[in-house]
Amino acid sequence: MLTYVLRRLLTAVPVLLGVTVINFIIMRMAPGNPVDMLVSPKLPAAAAEARRLALGLNEPAYVQYGLWLKNLLLHGDLGYSLITYEPVTRVIFDRMGPTLLLMGTALALGLLVAVPLGVLSATRQYSKLDYLASTGSFLGLSVPGFFLGLGLIYLFAIQLQWLPSGGMTELGGSGGFVDRLRHLILPALVLAAAVAGRCIRYVRSSMLEILGHDYLRTARAKGVRETLVVGRHAMRNALIPIVTVIGLEMSVLLGGAVVVEQVFAWPGIGQLTLSSIMSRDYSTLMGLNLVAAVSVIAVNLATDFIYAAVDPRVRTSYEGEGAA
């Protein structure tokens, strides 16, 4: 197992390096540059030159990349934003919290709805509840996040005035738990609807497959109560593939968060990414891409471990590899 982990971690290094190189090249190939956004073209060439010099953009591209990599490896430093001069690590760290809070709440909320509903609709296949759950899941899947978001804003923020229309805290307010919760409800609901929509279908089909297995018939024949058959014997096995789905769900959630953060002015990574792209803030974008790549790899790794932990068959196969 340990060898397996080490091997996975080692293969992650060239992947990450490759991601940063590709990002660097694509960013430089994109039209426009940060100096044009900061220094109006009507200014004397010397003004743009001074800014280019101050930002280190006068060096050849490979030198700039080398410097970036050196600072990252030796000091863990991602440099400064070309636009605001804030340290990139701090900017990303500040924005990571709100995004994780939003994603985490949405994931938890989505699963809380999806797992029971999925299981119930599988055990009562073709019942009214099953149809209701399937229809609901289709709705959750197909209604675009921004549309649902705007609808909720209209209803709860403008018409009923129960909840704020955006932001994370009240301006000049306490910023306490209740305040945050009020701001979190709507954006989390929008993301959770999509999560639940996707997961209900996975849980349901996975359950249906398991329910047909012989060992459950055996259990029933032995006189085990139906709730126990479903709850202990069937669900445990049915949820194993869901672990993988959750892993995949993370990157989809991150993408969804970009849109939802825009609609609700949620101060997270998504909003930062868009504004950095618009202003061609190379160093912030490099940092953001690196963080995204690391999280995807980390989540994949974590998924594999959890998979191994819940499924003995998988564990044995890892051990086999390790021994070889």
Binding site: V39, A47, A50
Partner: protein, 541 residues
């Protein structure tokens, strides 16, 4: 969702936003604690909605309009331009000159930093030194190039430690000598408005190249303006608290907030009471919402002066003949755009001077809509109507995108085929600067007092159209060297006649932004220039 094109997405988005804001009712915003009832402790607070993020608050190199507004509230400029286009005293009590060469700046006697120290001539000179230091690389330095002792980009040449044109007279007085005689209004428009004085005592130990990254510039804690910085989250909001020691008087408000909003949210949040007012050109209300905002209860609206102008950039390598460019100008139905698309909230303009500009020559009328004339001009010039021109348009502004479609249709009717391509600002500017375009539509706001730097850029060598006219260049040089306002006006007049003939980059229309303010706020007027001059007198009911 992937398959929906960007344009369609934007359309659906704006349609649904319109839906959100269209559904008004009599719901008083009583449940909104931030707006109706003052916040806890009876604090008086006003929230201003803006649609651009204050990306930084570095007074030496502000990024965008809102950054400048916020920085100026913390560090007042020497003088500030009001909406009547007159300069009002701020940190400087007066700026005077007798020979248009040496300008005497007298600072307000009461001006003090929040740490108790007085604001002195040394602080001003220190800030001038930072502004013109190439290591600080300020994007405003070029405005200071008129000062004696600085190079053409406004930087202090290497090896020199002091600007020869700047002299301290006493603790509160200094003189600035310029290279060539210039008018007081140009001095005020460059140095007077753009030098936001910084505290020497707080910054003396920071190396110039480290300044922008310093904690001070990220969150200034020694300031002199009517408000102090309390909280700053660059894509979300800025919260300012009253500086009771402000030299013009303690503000009546306890706090002033800027809230960053997505375009269409301005209307919704005015309605819900989450914001109290906007800044017309920096908290843009979409044209489609104007009627709705004007009808909101408890909200007063103000039509701002026409400022933001849409220009048609023309690459002369592709459209070399002045007749062809005239044809493009005649082919555009500007009046229809203003009447139907802007519902009258704008004006027809075809050059650099809107009706707000003191230099506009009323005898030079904008090119009228005349498709027949356009056709005959094109025929005379031998235009190949089979040729298709690339028309690059700035994306993100729904009104501009629709106007571009009308323009493309107008051009097609006259015999100029175009293919519209939307692009973001960075990409569009890149293409314009490299002259890798045929036609381009971009919004430009020219400063009304001193439009020379912009116009010189558009007409002189190195301009993005490839335009060249020796006579125009001579006029521009004459304007730069002149100190007599009447003669300057005459030269601008002559220039407008040349532009009408050559049509290097015709304007299409200028928008009149809408300002809105809640009736609970007194003393405040939404306007693009001078909105915050009297901010210390603002109050809430």
């Amino acid at each position: 969702m992937k398959r929906i094109g960007k344009g369609a997405l934007a359309l659906v988005l704006s349609a649904s936003l319109a839906l959100v804001s269209a559904c008004s009712n009599a719901n008083a915003p009583a449940n909104e604690p931030s707006a109706e009832a003052p916040a806890a402790g009876g604090a008086k607070s006003v929230t201003v909605g803006v649609t651009y993020a204050p990306s930084n608050i570095n007074p030496l190199a502000p990024v965008g309009l809102v950054s400048t507004y916020v920085a100026s509230l913390l560090f007042p400029p020497l003088v500030d331009l009001d909406s009547d286009l007159q300069y009002k005293p701020m940190l400087a009590d007066s700026i005077e000159t007798s020979d248009n060469k040496t300008f005497t700046i007298k600072l307000n006697e009461k001006a003090a930093w929040t740490d108790g120290k007085p604001v002195t001539a040394d602080d001003v000179i220190f800030t001038l030194g930072l502004m013109t230091n190439p290591k600080v690389a300020s994007n405003l330095a070029y405005l200071f190039a008129i000062i004696e002792g600085l190079d053409d980009a406004g930087f202090l040449p290497e090896g020199q430690s002091a600007i020869s044109g700047v002299k301290k007279v006493d603790e509160r007085t200094l003189t600035v000598t310029v290279k060539a005689p210039t008018t007081l209004s140009i001095f005020q428009d460059t140095i007077g408005k753009n030098l936001l004085t910084l505290p020497q005592s707080a910054l003396a130990d920071i190396a110039p190249e480290e300044l922008a990254k310093s904690d001070f510039m990220q969150k200034p804690d020694v300031t002199s303006g009517p408000f102090k910085l309390a909280e700053y989250n660059r894509d979300q909001f800025v919260r300012l608290e009253a500086n009771d020691a402000y030299f013009k008087g303690a503000p009546k408000l306890d706090s002033l907030n800027f809230k960053v909003l997505q375009g269409n949210a301005v209307t919704a949040q005015l309605q819900s009471g989450e914001i109290d007012m906007n800044i017309p050109s920096a908290g843009v209300i979409p044209v489609g919402d104007y009627e709705k905002v004007k009808g909101l209860q408890g909200i007063r609206t103000v039509e701002a002066a026409p400022l933001a102008t849409q220009f048609m950039y023309i690459n002369e390598a592709v459209v070399p003949d002045a007749k062809q460019r005239q044809a493009i100008s005649y082919a555009m139905n500007r009046q229809q755009i203003v009447d139907k698309l802007l519902h009258g909230a704008g004006e027809v303009v075809d050059s650099y001077f809107t009706s707000y500009s003191p230099y506009r020559d009323e005898s030079v009328q904008p090119a009228a809509y005349d498709p027949e004339k356009a056709k005959s001009l094109l025929a005379e010039s031998g235009w190949d109507s089979a040729k298709t021109l690339r028309l690059y348009v700035l994306s993100g502004d729904a009104t501009l995108e629709q106007a571009a479609n009308i323009v493309a249709e107008n051009l097609r009717a006259a015999g100029v085929q175009t293919k519209i391509q939307m692009m973001d600002l960075a990409t569009l500017i890149d293409n314009l600067v490299k002259m890798d375009y045929d036609l381009g539509i971009l919004t430009v706001s020219l400063t009304p007092i001193n439009p020379l730097p912009d116009i010189a850029y558009f007409l002189k060598e190195g301009n993005p159209s490839g335009y060249k006219n020796a006579e125009a260049e001579k006029l521009l040089d004459a304007i730069a060297a002149e100190t007599d306002e009447a003669k300057i006006k005459q030269s601008y007049s002559d220039l407008q006649k040349i532009i009408a003939q050559d049509v290097p980059m015709p304007a299409i229309y200028a928008t009149k932004a809408l300002g809105a303010v809640s009736e609970r706020v007194s003393g405040a007027e939404p306007k693009d220039f001078g909105m915050f001059i009297n901010v210390y007198e603002w109050d809430v009911k």
